[in-house]
């Protein structure tokens, strides 16, 4: 897991050198242009075709968001903090407004809480579907590239009805949400989630029960429970290793305490378990969406919140699609924060990439790597 001792040049094949054991190893540079998706580089050292050393080289999308937040007022920052994980925008937005509300001491009306949860869960499905489609690309399974992206449009349409935007909503604002439910939304949501659950069964049939996938994913990229905890993994990566940790249950925020859902965990910790955790979460999210549109209370959707950030410190965290996303926010009385530390799920899970790759064959790299659901933009911020 240690970084290579000397800087690796940009060429694809660096050198052949003899390691201590006398074996010939080869250092390969995978990325930032590679046949999968994601703009990061992995410097992989192989012995034959067994991976003996991996050093991730992130930072290709580092846009200095923490600094930019310090220069904008807290409302104008919302689009900026959404951008790191644009396919999971509302969850990141939620972490931001939670930390602001904690400093301001603003209570969100219950209808507002429900609407937040609704968009969060829709976003989780969209994000997992995007992950699944890219998994299809990584494994060369074109059907699994096309289907999830097509079904993702179901929820994109739904979110567009609710918020007015396809993927960048800026829907959550301090004090509540921007818009109320449009007429006819509940029926549409129920119809679409029910259709989608039927589709998930077909996914199982064509991909997850397919030997093409299972033989490449079962037992590949194993991350043990202890190792996952030690590395500080989070989200589906952690739950795929058998750890029952989900902020939505452990520290319920928004409307999660009033919803019935199960936290999915798998004991094996291989690529297949992590993939199945994603699938289970999509099913649970569908159930939650139906509960929300049925149970949603009447009332205001937004309470007036000041645009200033009073003096104070807050730590707001939510369970985003890729794990825990948190803000450590320091206010000093102006409309801009003094400092905002921004930690996302992918950033934490980056530590797991070498752990799941070591000891595997080079050909198994796509399966193991992408099962982490690493979204480089989110990790680099």
């Amino acid at each position: 897991m240690s970084a290579p001792s000397k800087p690796v040049p940009l060429t694809t094949v660096e050198s052949t050198e003899t390691s201590d054991s006398g074996a010939q190893t080869l250092t390969l540079s995978v990325g930032p242009q590679h046949s999968g998706s994601g703009h990061m580089r992995l410097i992989v050292e192989v012995d034959g075709d067994i991976i003996v050393n991996v050093a991730p080289d992130p930072g290709y999308v580092h846009r200095g968001i923490e600094k930019i937040i310090e220069l904008r007022n807290i409302i104008k920052s919302i689009p900026v903090i959404e951008r790191p994980s644009i396919i999971d925008a509302s969850n990141l937005n939620h972490a931001w407004v939670r930390s602001i509300e904690e400093i301001q001491g603003v209570e969100v009306p219950r209808r507002g809480q429900y609407l937040r949860t609704l968009l969060n869960e829709m976003n989780r499905i969209m994000s997992h579907l995007y992950w699944l489609s890219i998994y299809g690309v990584f494994l060369g399974h074109t059907t699994m590239f096309m289907w999830p992206l097509g079904d993702r449009e179901l929820f994109i349409d739904l979110a567009e009805k609710l918020t007015g935007a396809r993927i960048t909503y800026s829907y959550l604002v301090p004090g509540g949400v921007r818009r109320d439910l449009p007429p006819g939304f509940a029926e549409e949501a129920v119809k679409r989630t029910e259709y989608f659950e039927k589709r998930l069964k077909e996914y199982d049939r064509i991909f997850f029960n397919n030997p093409l996938f299972t033989s490449r994913a079962k037992g590949i990229g194993v991350l043990s429970k202890e190792k996952a905890i030690e590395l500080g993994c989070t989200g589906p990566t952690l739950r795929g290793s058998g750890v029952d940790a989900d902020l939505r249950k452990d520290e319920p925020y928004a409307a999660y305490s009033e919803l019935e859902f199960e936290v999915s965990t798998r004991p094996d910790g291989d690529s297949f378990s992590r993939a199945m955790v994603h699938m289970d979460e999509m099913r649970e999210s569908c159930k939650m969406i139906r509960q929300i549109v049925k149970k949603i209370p009447a009332g205001p959707i937004r309470r007036k919140a000041p645009i200033v950030l009073p003096r104070g410190v807050a730590y707001g965290r939510v369970e985003s699609a890729r794990g825990e996303c948190s803000f450590y926010l320091i206010g000093e009385g102006g409309d801009k924060p003094y400092r905002a530390r921004y930690i996302t799920g992918s950033y934490r899970n980056m530590a797991a990439i070498p752990a799941v790759l070591l000891g595997n064959r080079l050909a198994d790299m796509p399966t193991a790597w992408w099962s982490i659901d690493y979204w480089p933009v989110e990790a680099d911020r």
Binding site: L10, P32, Q33, H34, S35, G36, S37, G38, H39, G59, Y60, V61, H62, R63, G64, I65, K67, I68, L71, P79, V80, R83, P84, S85, I86, I87, Y130, S133, I134, F145, M146, W147, P148, L149, G150, D151, R152, E153, I156, R166, I167, T168, V377
Partner: protein, 183 residues
């Protein structure tokens, strides 16, 4: 050129080769003229505009909409756009959003390695002018600063429909251009 040039001045083979290359030069000029007129140009341009294969390189968050555009509903493949991993076989770079200083060098490298003709679509406000992150310390404000750009797509992120429009505009541009002046 396996000829051994021991007697440089009077070597008949070298003289012949020189004369030949002169002729070949003239011939290629002639071929260029012929190809650039009339139906041959139309055929070449037709082939080029309907097989725009973008190289598989993502730079930032606009890639989500690029993914949606090449997915099931929008299906860019009906325009002949098939994302491909190998840059030697591709003709198009779609710059998907913010270009950081670290990425700009790599993008230029990828552009240089691509075969002619090659085209560039700058997608998103970030690739046009820096967009949301224009005041950041680590980004390049606009793709035109290091590669020539054919089509810009405004939006943050642009909708898939906008990307389709950009592809159509690029195809129109290729249809009108000369065979040897592209890329």
């Amino acid at each position: 050129m396996s000829t051994q040039r021991t007697t440089q001045e009077e070597d008949p083979v070298a003289t012949l080769a020189e004369g030949l290359s002169l002729w070949v030069g003239k011939l290629s000029d002639l071929v260029k003229k012929v190809v650039d007129t009339g139906p041959i140009r139309n055929v070449v341009n037709w082939a080029r505009m309907y097989s725009l294969w973008p190289v598989n390189i993502t730079t930032a968050c606009c890639s989500a909409e690029f993914g949606a555009a090449s997915g099931a509903r929008h299906d860019l493949e009906r325009f002949g756009v098939l994302p491909i991993g190998s840059l030697r076989q591709s003709d198009l770079i779609v710059i998907e959003g913010t270009i950081t200083k670290k990425m700009a060098k790599r993008l230029r490298m990828i552009y240089d390695q691509m075969a002619l003709p090659r085209y560039v679509i700058a997608m998103g406000d970030c690739a046009m002018s820096g967009g949301l992150f224009h005041d950041s310390y680590s980004i390049v404000n606009g793709a035109h600063e290091f590669v020539p750009v054919d089509v810009y797509v405004p939006g943050c992120p642009p909708r898939p429909e906008a990307l389709e429009q950009a592809i159509i505009m690029l195809q129109e541009k290729i249809r009108r251009s000369k065979v040897y002046e592209q890329g």
